[in-house]
Amino acid sequence: MLIIGEKLSIIAKRVREAMLKKDKAPIQEIATHQWKAGAGMIDANIGPAEDGGEALMEWMVTTIQEVVPLPVCLDTTNYKAIEAGLKVHNNQWGRPLINSTSNDPERFPMLELAAKYNCLVIGLTVGKGGLPADAGERAAIAAEIMARAMEYGVPLEDLYLDPLVLQIATSQDHALKVIEAVKIFKEMNDPPMKTVVGLSNISNGCPKQLRPIINKYYFLMLLDAGLDAAIADPKEMAEAMEERPFFQKVLSGGNIGDPQKELIMKKTIDIIMGRTLYAHSYLEM
């Protein structure tokens, strides 16, 4: 399991300010924390980065790799910024990952870059129009992306399919559809396709105290489905791995000798499986 540390995102105020001021200290501190917590790669999300994207990505990649011996996941829609990051990326720590291509022709140049720089690339299973309705649509888009990757000369082993995790608070039925999609993706090639998710989006919009609970248990269910990588909080994921034996026991109807924890797990499983309707207070019911 590859955990791609999610914390270096422009969405976080502290990171955004550091990016603006080109202040290395916070970036390096966060990168180091994630590495120590078990991340195998660090995501550098600089947003659409229409102005100065190239310089920013370059700076992010070198700033991270100065302190952390890990590859970087280059996260932006700006093709030129990705290329700038790839040029300075230190491949001694592993191959970089492009986040992401999709079935939208505007994102095809990412495949060109993946081929040119011999790196890994995420294929987000969305097209030009709208979100995929179910696991089947995700698989159909995945097949298109796989065909496109081969066309551009990207080996399928270097492609990570991403079924697009949606918010459980507003799109509850997609939680299970994404798990199904991971299972289908794995069967779409031999050797199996690699899969990745942007995990924390599942709990986006949920009350703060619920987020780690939903993230962890959803991650464990995806892991059972065969997930290979997750862009996530490595600290949370480490906790999840510790809880995994207990969680699997609860999933199969067993008893873990901690009724309170067991109830939290059961209720969260019911929410993910769509057996209970989600509400922010679902744990209190």
């Binding site: 507003t170 057996r275 309707l277 509400a279 207070s281 019911m285």
Partner: protein, 313 residues
Amino acid sequence: MAFVAPKESYSGKVSEVTIGTDKTISFGGENVLPFQSFEGTVPHRPVIAYEIQDVPPGDWPETVKSVYEAVSSDPVSWAKFCEDKLNAKAIALRLIGTHPDRENRSAEDAKRVVRDVLSAIKVPLIILGSNHVEKDSEVLVAVAEAAKDKNCIIGKAQEGNYKTITAAAMAHNHKLIAMSELDINLSKQLNILITQMGFPKERLITDPMCSALGYGIEYTYSVMERIRLAALTQNDAVMQPPMLGDVGTYVWKVKETQASENELPHWGSLKERSITWEAVTAAAMLIAGAELLIMRHPEAVQVVERFVDELMQ
């Protein structure tokens, strides 16, 4: 071998709600999807309440305003007219005049109207605010007290004002409408928050927010449908209150109930068109799962009652 129709059975049941004191009426209580009585029990037909207001309906289209011309300057005569002449089974008094952008009438004024209407009618009363979050929490608290022990429905409690309104409905023995804005998860959340205050879920009515035919009715329809499926198939206790379709107020705002024949000759008779618009919207809400409707035009109500007659056979 003879054909045997497959039957679904459900683990949950919609709560049964009874309102009123002199004359009572009940709705809900079924353990099947709307009108599927061959699979279980449908103890009551849906209830249609006639909408009246605390102020004259100056903003209603002519087609429906003219019906109440002689009585609508006084809420008491209007309520009596609905009860005596239209055989209303319930009356919904909307205190629209309390809205700060309308007549901005006071909570005291509202109390007086509620008391007067209650002493004039025997059928159950639904008391609605003006849908202004702050003002409603003042007005509905006052009228809940004025209607103490009359077993009314008070509404609508929303995310921004449910605490005070719920406390008032609880203290004065009323039923309560909980409204959220077309979001099934928020609807469940509001019902949870209200019941966590100690309000019995058996006294709740869910309003997932209505919309008129052609103006997003499919959203209301699918939210209602999913609420009902959660109640029946998942036995989700907080999703089991009966549902309200507040039809009239949405329907009589849309172009189809207002545009004249001169303006749009190809749309046909305005009267027929607008009455049909209300009836069709109401029928869709019933099929989606509503047990309580609030409507305006008597002819539309009659059409819907006949529709229910046929479905209940």
